[in-house]
Assembly symmetry: C2
Homo-oligomer: 426 residues x 2
């Protein structure tokens, strides 16, 4: 029976039972974590062999003879670039291999545009007064945090089943020159798990922003992170932008953080040649070059894009059952009560859960009190403020499956309590 | 006989002989390089074993149990920090381990202060109109390039035998609030090879800048890079600044680029706890953390600061003879002619050579034409403009010793030609 259709007495009965169950969980002294999209130890072990790919017997030479131990090569080894060019569908001249963090590449790109402008002769963002930024939400808290730190005004754009609300985006960017960019996770979006439809990608490419220095930050973090044998597909945004003459409008980011090692992977940035040339013009002042031995490790270990794809199936084998465990628990205990909605993603790292309005904070707080750490309620919205207080990001990858099942029991119990309290207060 | 005391006929004879010798070198089709301070292949091979320090048999755990393969740990592994804390004489809370590039840490520090100010409540440099920067010269071109790119006005400060001209620095910073910083390479300076005297360090620590957001960028790049058994010593600037109540005035940088791998080392930044806390407050928005597996490699391989010191003796054994070869050649062929002065450094990576005034560009150009690449004349000065056109940075580490000797013959021949031409034109 749906809780929304229950009588006061029935709700009180549910609440009473849930509270009693909850006290039991609290007594267990649990310390469980479904907060961050971190790979589990057995996933990290999948690339153990990479640590031997460049060892003391290696000459540390790249295919073109470059000694990877020494200085130089600003934009990355050719063979490492090839891996990612094939993955993202871009040319060698359209890609830079950076350090271990794509977030760092994004932050630096914002900082660069802020200080120097998006290209030669363009006005720096810092000199254009109030800057606004579009934030499809629910979205990635660390994206929002960067643009918030720079003092930009964050505008929430609702997420739909096929991507962000394009009507709203088209209208806003065509009207307002102070809107300089948008955050996108176009495939297996963080946290909603959806992939932008072909139409959405084409509408992005066809945008006619009033600001000629408007930029799409296309964080393709989960482009190879499929959970099923029938993966989503995503149109190549750079190709689409070339067709519309908008090729300088997009920066693409990706990394191997959830392919090889979360803390010691390789991150990349792709864009039009003009954009990449401009980035390199500044980057050559910032650094002599990133860690080429780690780039060589990745190239030697994965060999090619096919190697990455094959490797990702091993990740899926480990984490797909975890997603299934979360979804099974929700299907069994939440769905019949009508006290939450959630997606069933075909890839990525998250399940996005919506409580009844006004319950998310209470759920997360109850979980925390019982030793289950969730991403903070609101974190998926700009300024950490979820207008409906309903969205919770579930990250199922890190805990072992038995812990995950335990954590989900606590979570569901918390959802029941918060929902009953809410409905009773009406 | 000194060329400055030669008759016209004697000079013409020297010039004629040198030109004839020069044509001989050109005919050899040489491709030699004394341009950049790059370690030679045999130096890079010294840390070959580090590539096995974390291999597939490793659990990749830090001493405190941190899984180095996963996300997290913004400021670096404890044991890696310890290596550098001992090296620089600072506390754990006063240090951050970054990625592979100290230049990148410096650039980011400039950018951070430019965008956000040097601390909470401080005005951003970008909002303070014209910013000026002190550049002891000859100095490091990549330092100057950063502050030039940010549009700061670079003020040349002469280098003396015990450090930069402190009278000038004290006067300028006490008078001019728009002066926000200074570049320093305090030990085995790039390129002059001198180490700042205790008095100079104390005078730095005792500066009373008009700008309360004036910062010393103390690039201690060569702090363990001794060439002799009687190394220079450098006072601990942070300790000295604590004594004068100026502890927030200095940022210290170092790296293992010339200890382990130039392209895949570990870089660090040290400063007062207040400064480090502020850097972390921003850095946590910029990245989730740097490459911890590489940090672990360094900690496991070197074990402790004593390990680094012992290792540096191996570097000295390789490069000290190269310095000696350069100096011997100069002593033999330049000194008797009085056509150049140069230092004899006890550490670092460079020999700084001063031609007769107005000859440096000509020398570098002649070298280039004969296949010997030198650092561009003027590169050691702000804006690449050496007012006397006399300083040339010689980087002897990269070429094998036989190539170095060959390159020095060409160099000395070029110095003779340029000097004779100059003296004849008087």
């Amino acid at each position: 029976m749906l809780m929304t259709e229950m009588t006061k007495e029935q709700l009180e009965e549910v609440l009473s039972q849930a509270k009693s169950e909850y006290e039991g969980y609290k007594a267990l002294g649990l310390t469980l974590n479904m907060a961050r999209g971190k790979p589990a130890a057995d996933q990290l072990a999948l690339t153990r062999g990479m640590l031997d790919a460049v060892d003391s017997s290696s000459d540390c030479k790249a295919a073109d003879g470059t000694d990877c131990r020494n200085y130089g090569v600003l934009d990355g080894l050719k063979e490492t670039k090839k891996l990612f060019c094939d993955m993202l569908g871009v040319k060698d001249e359209e890609l830079i291999v950076g350090g271990n963090s794509s977030l760092n590449l994004m932050y630096d790109t914002i900082a660069r545009n802020y200080i120097f402008g998006v290209g030669e002769g363009k006005k720096a963002w810092k000199d254009q007064g109030k800057i606004k930024w579009l934030c499809p939400a629910p979205g990635y808290d660390r994206h929002f945090a960067i643009t918030e730190r720079f003092g930009f005004e964050l505008i929430t754009v609702p997420m739909k089943a096929d991507g962000p609300d394009m009507d709203m985006i088209e209208r806003l960017v065509s009207e307002d020159e102070s809107i300089k960019g948008i955050w996108c996770v176009p495939m297996y979006a963080n946290p909603t798990g959806i992939t932008y439809s072909d139409e959405v990608v084409r509408r992005f490419a066809a945008l006619k922003p009033k600001a000629d220095d408007f930029r799409i930050f296309w964080d393709n973090a989960y482009c190879v992170h499929h959970l099923t044998d029938t993966p989503d597909t995503l149109l190549n945004i750079l190709d689409e932008c070339k067709k519309t003459g908008n090729e300088d409008m997009v920066y693409i980011f990706a990394s191997t953080s959830k392919v090889s090692f979360a803390g010691a992977g390789v991150a990349v940035m792709a864009a039009s040649k003009a954009n990449i040339d401009y980035v390199k013009y500044h980057m050559t002042i910032q650094t002599i070059g990133f860690d080429k031995i780690n780039q060589l490790r990745h190239a030697k270990y994965f060999k090619d894009y096919e190697g990455i794809k094959a490797h990702m199936k091993k990740h899926a084998a480990i984490i797909a059952p975890k997603f299934k465990a979360v979804l099974n628990a929700l299907d069994e205990s939440v769905k019949p009560l009508g006290i939450g909605s959630y997606n069933s993603p075909r890839g990525g790292y998250f399940i996005s859960f919506d409580t009844l309005d006004g319950c998310a904070k209470r759920v997360v707080s109850l979980c925390k009190e019982a030793g289950v750490v969730m991403t903070g309620a609101g974190a998926t919205f700009p300024y950490g403020k979820d207008p409906k207080d309903s969205n919770i990001r579930i990250a199922p990858t890190l805990p072992p499956i038995n812990e995950l099942e335990q954590a989900m029991k606590v979570f569901i119990c918390a959802v029941k309590i918060a929902s009953a309290e809410k409905l009773l207060a009406k």
